[in-house]
Amino acid sequence: MKHDFSELRLDRVTRRFAGAGGHAFNALSALTMTIQRGEFIALLGPSGCGKSTALNCIAGLLPLSDGSIWLDDMRIDTLPPEQRGFGMVFQNYALFPHMTVAANVDFGLRMRRVPAAEIAARVEKAMHMVQLTGQEHKLPGQLSGGQQQRVAIARAIVIEPPLVLMDEPLSNLDAKLRIETRAEIRRIHRELERSTIYVTHDQDEALSLADRIVVMKDGVAQQIATPREVYAEPANLHVARFMGYRNVLDLVVENVDGDRVTVAGPDLRLVGTQKLPLTGKRACVAIRPDEAQLVDDAGGVNVFSGAVANVEYGGRDSLVDVKTASGTVIHVRSPLQPALGATVRVHVPAARILVYPAE
């Protein structure tokens, strides 16, 4: 069991399951990446994308079908979970219901036969870190969901693992507690100075917590990049859709000039930025609602008009659905609240119209 490391290397990590009709399908296909000590990695994707499979493979709870996992120069994918020594926080917490909070937290230390005096000191430190001091003698059933969550985190970090694995740890908490606990997880990660791999389907969580995000779909990593890159420069249309590019329009390519592309539909013509080499006559453009604006001036590039079809009030701004004459609907986030049916003009800067090959 290693207590420290400089990098964790995943090499074509693959997991197959038997699917319907005896066909095997890849829940996880050839995930390859290197995680540095101290990094916070988020595995992000919709349910069934393979992110939890990846986490369970790293933890040792699922054997690999192919590929290997290395901690520096030590191959670990053949070791059972108890010999890998990673801390794991489960989605349903998996606290031992018959043990007190203190017994839950010191379980890993007792398994490692740490001397009693050291156990007491380390448990106290961990309890302090998750701000649960004074709750040591309660049973998990007597705690609230947020407290149980923090016991689960304390139990995983008290063994000072080289790697902490978290499987959607916030999904059972309410919105307010989720944001508070999110900040605590980030703080604990900083204090431990070890690596964390965090599985989530919530893009806000991934963006706010991670140093790097792995966006997954159908068992394949679509993009491995910093939150800023994933947010602003999605590698493909799947990532764009998942990162909140709600407007995806299928248009005809008119002209390609370097990475500037002109695409057109029946009643709009847009100049956008090419993100992947275009192959056919058609292309898909992706636009975030908050990067489109309602404007007054009639002329200019990337300005088109339409009628207001729906307005959803959202506090600081509203989500306005603008419908062009041919029926294309564009979602725009705007501080203005135009009347239903009014004619408005929409502008999007060319740099924020991302053009991908049509699907």
Binding site: G87, F96, L139, N172
Partner: protein, 293 residues
């Protein structure tokens, strides 16, 4: 003030008519359990001759009566310990679904469908002095002397294991599969190997269920009668307490003494059950899943 209003609200709450559904079961219990039990208790204190406690004094001073308690315990306790002890590891292995799981479970459970008399008949031909087992061992010269596994203590013990095992197995299987396997996985990530997972996670969570299973299996074994007669030696080493009660009732026609023996039998069972359930209170009892979801 607030509590007064709450009390008033409670008082006005209409009678829950669904409680009436309990009436048939309650009547049934009253007629076929409570009344016969109280009648037997009353009868045991009204002996044919002597004072109120004459039956009980007779039982504890007669040499072919009071030792039946030990004779029965000597059969019932080992049989129960074997049944629970063997069923636990097998049920634990069967908790994960495999291709063989259904077949193994079916084979282990089949004896529950056979009556004790049928098992006794089978055992007499299989384990008897001229039975298959004996002939097989002697044919291959594996064991030369006469094999005596019927008409003694061992015959009754084997039959109690055969008839009691499926019951213990099914009960424990349902307890084991009720425990969230995620707990063992969590323990594994914390450094617990399989043995430690069993000792620290499964065993403490199973303990209350095992105690319950032990009680039920013990009560069943303690009231052994047909196999003690058919497979044992009812005059000697397997003269169990139910045989003593039977003789009192149907051979010397002393219903009062028979009732007293039945009461003593019930009392011994109660002592064991209370002791085991008392031990159970030392363990955690509550939900066996770890958190939400």
């Amino acid at each position: 003030m607030a509590s007064a209003t709450a009390n008033a609200a409670l008082a006005r709450e209409p009678f829950d008519k669904s409680l009436l559904l309990v009436v048939p079961a309650a009547l049934f219990m009253l007629l076929v359990f409570v009344y016969p039990f109280l009648y037997g208790l009353w009868l045991s204190f009204n002996p044919k001759t002597g004072g109120v406690l004459a039956n009980y004094t007779h039982f504890f001073t007669t040499d072919n009566l009071w030792p039946t308690i030990w004779t029965t315990l000597r059969l019932a306790l080992p049989a129960t310990i074997i049944n629970v002890g063997v069923a636990l590891p097998i049920a634990f292995k069967m908790r994960v679904k495999t291709r063989y799981q259904r077949w193994v479970t079916t084979i282990l459970v089949v004896p529950i469908t056979l009556g004790t008399v049928l098992i006794a008949e089978g055992m007499l031909t299989y384990f008897g002095p001229r039975g298959w087992l004996s002939q097989f061992l002697q044919f291959f010269h594996l064991y030369e002397g006469p094999i005596r596994l019927t008409h003694n203590y061992w015959g009754v013990l084997i039959s109690l294991v055969i008839s009691g095992f499926p019951f213990a197995f099914l009960l424990i299987l349902s307890y084991v599969t009720g425990i969230d396997p995620g707990l063992a996985r969590a323990a594994a990530t914390l450094g617990a190997d399989r043995r430690a997972q069993f000792r620290h996670i499964y065993l403490p969570l199973l303990a209350p269920g095992l105690a319950m299973c032990f009680c039920l299996a013990f009560v069943q074994a303690f009231s052994v009668f047909p196999s003690a007669v058919l497979l044992g030696s009812p005059a000697g080493p397997t003269r169990v307490i139910s045989i003593a009660a039977y003789e009192a009732a149907f051979e010397i026609y002393d219903y009062s003494l028979a009732s007293a023996i039945a009461m003593i039998m019930g009392f011994v069972q109660l002592v064991v059950v209370v002791a085991v359930l008392g031990l159970r209170n030392l363990f955690y009892r509550g939900p066996v899943s770890g958190g939400k979801g």
